[in-house]
């Protein structure tokens, strides 16, 4: 098992995490599975439906709504997933995983992550600390649903972008852009 992505894909995830801080961001990883290694070909940012309380609650009710919001929960609409999947198929790609951010929390899956996970998919988590993207990790649900297994993430090509966090900071200063 493993996940292989380009530096530009990782940069896109980091940028999205910084942009949406202090809310959680989420998105999808498109690619192909080759002998147990998922090769990412595209990363698509998606809407965290938890910003839309009514619709999110109708789709997947929260256990403790007074303590849960877009700052500690994300949800991707199933209709959005159908749309993305169809578009991916037409390009000969598949959904191989999802990413989301942990604002001011370590890049380790929560119980909530595990309870809502699907097998086989890669779940990439990025910590965003005080608005700055930090470490990432990737996880796959075990068949018995009792644990997440950490998987190796190989980042190919390019230099890790110092520029990324600068861009993200300036975007936050001008939220109307």
């Amino acid at each position: 098992m493993g996940l292989k992505l380009d530096q530009k894909h990782l940069d896109a995830i980091r940028r999205h995490g910084a942009k949406d801080y202090p809310a959680e961001c989420c998105g999808v990883l498109l690619g192909l599975d080759a002998e147990g290694v998922k090769r990412v070909r595209d990363v698509v940012p998606l809407k965290n439906l938890r910003h839309d309380r009514m619709r999110a609650e109708a789709l997947l009710p929260l256990g403790a709504p007074e303590r849960e919001s877009e700052r500690n929960r994300f949800l991707i609409d199933r209709a959005e997933i159908r749309r993305v999947e169809e578009a991916a198929r037409s390009r000969g790609l598949d959904i191989v995983g999802y990413y989301h951010s942990h604002p001011d929390h370590p890049a380790r899956p929560s119980d909530y992550d595990r309870e809502h996970a699907w097998p086989w998919l890669s779940y990439v988590i990025i910590r965003v600390q005080a608005g700055e993207p930090c470490e990432h990790s990737s996880w796959v649900l075990a068949d018995d649903r009792l644990s997440f297994r950490s998987e190796e993430v190989e980042v190919v090509g390019g230099e890790p972008g110092e520029k990324i966090s600068t861009d993200a900071r300036s975007q936050r200063r001008h939220p109307s852009r």
Partner: protein, 99 residues
């Protein structure tokens, strides 16, 4: 004859790598129970230990979410297509001992 159940990529490993399974059933509930009897390993990913469909599992009949039809009692006819569509959710531990 029967209905076709489209299996999403993450669950194909439990149905012999097929992307669809044909089931004879007259309601959505029957189709899903038929599917999980035939492919036992699917069950815990679709149902809770209490036997309820998991909250993040959505079932579509043709192009309609069954929650807007008659839920799992929605009747089926031959050549209907059932899709299992994930909602993807996650978050943080609410009480985190973060350091």
């Amino acid at each position: 004859m029967g209905v076709k159940v489209i299996i999403p990529t993450p669950l194909r490993q439990y149905v012999g790598k097929q992307d669809a399974v044909t089931i004879n059933a007259s309601t959505v509930a029957e189709a899903l129970s038929g599917l999980t009897v035939q492919y036992e390993a699917l069950r815990k990913h679709l149902y809770t230990d209490e036997g309820k469909l998991r909250s993040f599992v959505n079932i579509y009949l043709n192009d309609e979410d069954i929650r807007y039809l008659q839920k799992d009692q929605t009747p089926l006819k031959d050549d209907d297509i059932i899709s299992i569509v994930p909602s993807i959710a996650g978050g943080l531990n609410l009480r985190c001992i973060c350091r």
